[in-house]
Amino acid sequence: MSPNFVEIFGNPWLAILVAMSAIIGYLTLNALMLIWLERKLSARIQRRMGPTEVGPYGLLQTVADMGKLISKELLTPEHVQKPLYLAAPVLVFAPVVALCSLFPVSPSWVFHDYNIALVLLLAISGTNVLGIFIAGWGSNNKYAVLGAVRSVAQNIAYEIPLILAVIPVVMTARTLSLYGITEAQSAFPYILVQPLAAIIFLIAATAETNRAPFDIPEAESELVAGFHTEYSGMRFGMFFFAEYSNMVIACGLATVLFLGGWKGPLLPGFVWFFIKVYALIVLMMWFRWTFPRLRFDQLMKFAWVVLVPLAIVNLLVTTIVLKLI
Amino acid sequence: MIEEKLNELDPAIVSTAENYAVKGYCYLHKLEVARLPEAAALFCEDGFQLEMMTCVDCRESDGIFRLVYQFNIYDIAQRHLLHVDLAPDQAAPSIAAVCPGANWYEREVYDMYGVEFSGHPDLKRILMNDDYVGHPLLKDFVDTAPQVI
């Protein structure tokens, strides 16, 4: 069983404080580096250079950008619903922090290993859409509302194949604890036994994080900027951060469920974990810089007509096979 | 042929064949304002398309506005020009009903020359602001807008 943070620090409040600061620090660093990575990657895919000026290889470009965003005046448009408008960026970012605390990064690095961690994770990540919807609704702007509405519909639709893809894994591992699921993959990662579930999960997770080709809620060519049209400065930065943090959550979950978490030869566990997570993230970026965007109704059709039936079939087959074994 | 049909419609229509190699069109028809919708309908029935429609401000020389309609069938390059002379305060009949493509062209002529079209579904300015005063393509147009330097 994993060591408990509370035992290490003695005082539970201190433990929470340290863990939270660590997570927020990690998420900030992660978002900065991911934005840099995305810029560099997209640039190279498009035969450009990407950021080169600030810092070595332009590494500090996003830091400079964050400085700019922070120093910007926080504008509140006159026509917005103020309480909702102000609450939304926080609501978008808050679940991410909670979610990060659940991941078993290595056998010894886990904040708390709940035996229902997976359920908790899926439940909390579901609240992410609330922030987006409130942002769109509170902005009182037609483009933003359209983006918010799309976002809700999309998130609800893709939650189903996502969970349907998770269930076979849980059935195979016979546990809901993320630690347990990782341990169950000691021999081989579940992507080998559940390839279809893994693909469905990855697609649904891309949609859940509103990444291209499923970035309908913020489709800039149709909705200007979608739900965050009215946001500027660091409030916009929060949405931006949340997007990249959500990518880590989604890819982290995929790593735990299908790629065997920290399991791997030679290197220490946490290195393997992060290698897998960031490899998946690069894959998601690769998607984004290759494909055009789906239309809203096609996106919904894809979820209900393709992903859900496939996931159900996969679930049935898994059930039968497990029963026979 | 369309020129014969036009002649049947109204013998008063003056049709002249033109040198396509230089002028770029085959026939020039001059007709009365009242005959315009019928003539346009005739063209549309025969598979012609309204390629372009515009106006020429001939008030100085002839005291008229001349509406120019250009019909064409693309594959055989049969371009016909229709001339309709209008008194400066006269309204022209709109042909937007028979040929929807004329809708915007008529709005443009209204915008640029102030020529009214009776029976137009939505006659308003198209290129200039709704609250703009004046018609820029008139020969006696004086630009009153402040010069931006």
Binding site: L41, A43, R44, I45, Q46, R47, R48, M49, T52, W286, F287, W289, T290, F291, V306 | I149
Partner: protein
């Protein structure tokens, strides 16, 4: 079955697309790092017009004919000139182009009777106000104007002398021819005489 086939075919097209982007990812970037690397402009590149040196004069040859001023669609050229003492041709004393208005059409080059207009080679013109773009094309020529005038005077004088000489020669030739003709008409009898 059709359903699965469609999914499979669709996925294949997506993978093809990803392969294309991967191939590009592995190739070097095509960006020119502009302020660090300067671009090489083509021979025909059109920047603000300049007065070019005429080889035989050693200076520009703007004669204040106003042809370019008249043809310019943007009306951005302003020329003043005078006739220096002892010279046949006029010389420009002011040649200003408002580059902010210029559209690089090149009509002025076409009409220039002395072909003394050419295109500049710069491409990174920038300024803080519109007046920064009013270029004085005579600027590079100002300092050498006096010697240039002298030289032009000499050239013109030489040309005039040459022309005179030619005229004289022509006249002489004419005379000679006439004389010959005269001689021819009078020769036969002399021949006969001889």
């Amino acid at each position: 079955m059709r359903f699965l086939k469609d999914i499979f075919a669709g996925t294949l097209t997506l993978l093809t697309g990803m392969r294309v982007t991967l191939q590009h990812f592995l190739r070097p970037p095509v960006t020119t790092q502009y302020p660090l690397e300067k671009l090489e402009m083509s021979e025909a590149y059109r920047d603000v017009i300049v007065l070019i040196e005429k080889e035989e004069l050693g200076t520009h040859d703007c004669i204040d004919c106003q042809a370019c001023v008249r043809v310019c669609p943007s009306m951005c050229i302003e020329i003043e000139g005078h006739r220096p003492e002892g010279l046949k041709r006029k010389r420009a004393t002011k040649f200003e182009v408002d580059f902010a208005l210029c559209s690089e059409c090149g009509l002025c080059l076409d009409v220039c009777p002395t072909d003394t207009l050419g295109y500049g080679r710069d491409y990174d013109e920038a300024g803080y106000q519109r007046s920064d773009f009013i270029y004085d094309l005579l600027k590079p020529w100002r300092s050498g104007e006096e010697t240039a005038l002298k030289r032009i005077g000499e050239i013109e004088a030489a040309k005039a002398a040459e022309r005179d000489a030619k005229k004289k020669a022509a006249a002489a030739a004419k005379k000679a021819a006439a004389a010959k003709k005269d001689a021819a008409s009078t020769d036969p009898p002399t021949e006969k005489d001889a």
